[in-house]
Symmetry: C2
């Protein structure tokens, strides 16, 4: 059975659908009372490991809002299961055995994604079944640098000191680590696609950890390999390089179908940088959802207007939605996007 709503996939492929598709990063999440009701009964890790609950929360925002895509409920750190890292969420992620030295890297036992991440694949299947082709399902993973930084830091960090010290001190070993992670990420995406994922988003959440020069030398080659291999899987690939707008130039060199744009750069400027032949996704400031309704609507329409300069535009926030957001404001945002094209 074909998808009932193809506007998101059409836009990914560079066509301009009749109305601009919209989805929102973290659209299935804590700002929804029905999500919090599920989480009151299970931990975050238990939720990620339950295909039925993943499907339930993945579909929750679709029942409230007129969204054009669903995104698998999971976490970019699930892949650490295949890297031999023990990750816990309390609620911030914590890796008990971070990788800090050359011998830590040499001692890593990289597993196969398929041997460790079957629970995610089962969640993809459950989501696809529950969606019943209403809208496409987006799968995802973290980019190599973002994934590596959690493995090395062991948790959140402001300065990425451990990651950068390792990179500066043992650049060859750091390169091997990035290469090994990239190989597992490729396998992981292939597994998600086998279960029916319709598009892929790669989250480079911590691109801004590195200077532009260091990013180009130590991160971009691995991300390029990941995007290149992901493209061979036959579904559109969105690359979201977040946190440093000056990296848009480097992002534009990726063979991705869509470039995600964060809110630190005006969308019209981002389109100038990457070129009007590219499809872009973004980029409303998530905190605009805390503005009065008329201000939120005006800001939403301004982003839509700027997006018209691109080959195609997928409306999204420029970062994940805040847990403190009023769902009524989210509804206003989605309806404003669709009404603007009506």
């Amino acid at each position: 059975m074909p998808l009932a709503n193809t506007s998101f996939l059409d836009a990914c492929r560079g066509q301009r659908p009749a109305r601009t598709p919209v989805w929102v990063m973290r659209q299935a999440g804590r700002y929804l009372p029905e999500y919090r009701a599920v989480r009151s009964k299970v931990s975050f890790t238990e939720l990620c490991h339950s295909p039925q609950l993943c499907a339930e929360v993945t579909l929750q925002p679709l029942d409230r809002f007129d969204l054009d895509a669903a995104i698998l409920f999971s976490d970019i750190l699930t892949v650490l299961d295949a890297l031999g890292a023990e990750v816990e969420f309390n609620p911030a992620p914590h890796v008990a055995n971070p990788v800090r030295t050359l011998s830590d890297i040499d001692g890593l036992q990289f597993g196969k994604a398929d041997d460790h991440l079957g629970y995610v694949y089962d969640a993809v299947s459950a989501c696809k079944k529950a969606l019943n082709n209403r809208v496409p399902l987006i799968g995802f993973c973290g980019a190599p640098l973002t994934t590596a930084s959690y493995l090395v830091e062991g948790g959140g960090t402001k300065d990425f000191l451990n990651t950068k010290r390792l990179m500066f001190t043992e650049p060859a070993a750091f390169g091997r680590l990035m290469e090994g992670i990239t190989t597992i990420l490729i396998d992981y995406l292939a597994g998600q696609v086998r279960q029916g994922i319709d598009a892929i988003q790669i989250f480079e959440s911590w691109a801004a950890a590195l200077t532009p020069e260091d990013y180009r030398e130590h991160a971009l080659p691995h991300l390029t390999r990941l995007v290149t291999e992901a493209k061979k899987l036959g579904v559109p690939v969105i690359a979201f390089v977040r946190g440093n707008a000056t990296l848009m130039e480097q992002a534009a060199t990726l063979p991705a179908d869509v470039l995600g744009v964060d809110w630190s750069i005006q969308l019209s400027r981002a389109i100038e940088v990457v070129g009007a032949d590219k499809v872009v996704q973004g980029n409303l400031d998530p905190i605009a959802l805390f503005a009065p309704p008329e201000v939120l609507a005006a800001k939403t329409r301004a982003v839509l207007q700027e997006g018209r300069a691109a080959k195609a535009h997928i409306f999204n926030l420029g970062h994940g939605i805040s847990r403190h957001t009023d769902p009524e404001q989210m509804k206003l945002l989605v309806d404003t996007v669709h009404e603007a094209d009506a």
Copy 2:
């Protein structure tokens, strides 16, 4: 008695001194054992309130490193004393009575900087006396947005939700708040200059809180007023707009003598954006100090080389030095800057 070393002030005024001047943000701080020894005896607040101890720690790095400027030991949040806010450091700053609503703003009792910040002026005098004209002394304050964000958030924040909600919901009142803060900052800088400060740095530490459009509308006019008034005080003014390289274009419109550049943008690119007729300061990644010595030296020389495209260049880090830095690496950095010009 004239200053023994004028290279920093010469560079501020657009001359190229024989050797590139260097100082480092947070050069007087926790990475120095002698600073930690002082702090083991007094709290951060007690230190800021003691002119003699401020002078002692301000001069500590000068006794170790061949630096071309000193910066007053103080904090950008001392000015909150004149805004009726009760700020504590434990160790992160915490404001007991944050400003969140229209009535909070209307209820603010802005004092005079001179009535509340005499202890800072005394610290300036003590530093100048202790320096005995070895090198110039830099005074500083936070920019209006950065100062306002602490007052509104009450402490650190990732998303500046309260600041932006107030700005979106009560834009006129937010403007009044920014205007009142700016007036006090102008008075505060005037007081520092009266005590003998040789140059001013304005820290817009949280420029990246706002989208470029919102920054232009809600923050830049107040920062422009602050820089314009600071310029009338007769000493060079450095504006450091940190955290979003796309704001360099807006920073370039400020009437500052020097533009600080953070490490998120390559220095050569920043000079292209602001123009080769500007003086720039920056921008080595502070975490480069954790690289092996030869890598640190190479990265230092690369920044120096890029700086040659500007009218003049003051070498600095692109953010404050990390508390975990080895002082020997700091020495290598300073010596590398000076030897490159020898």
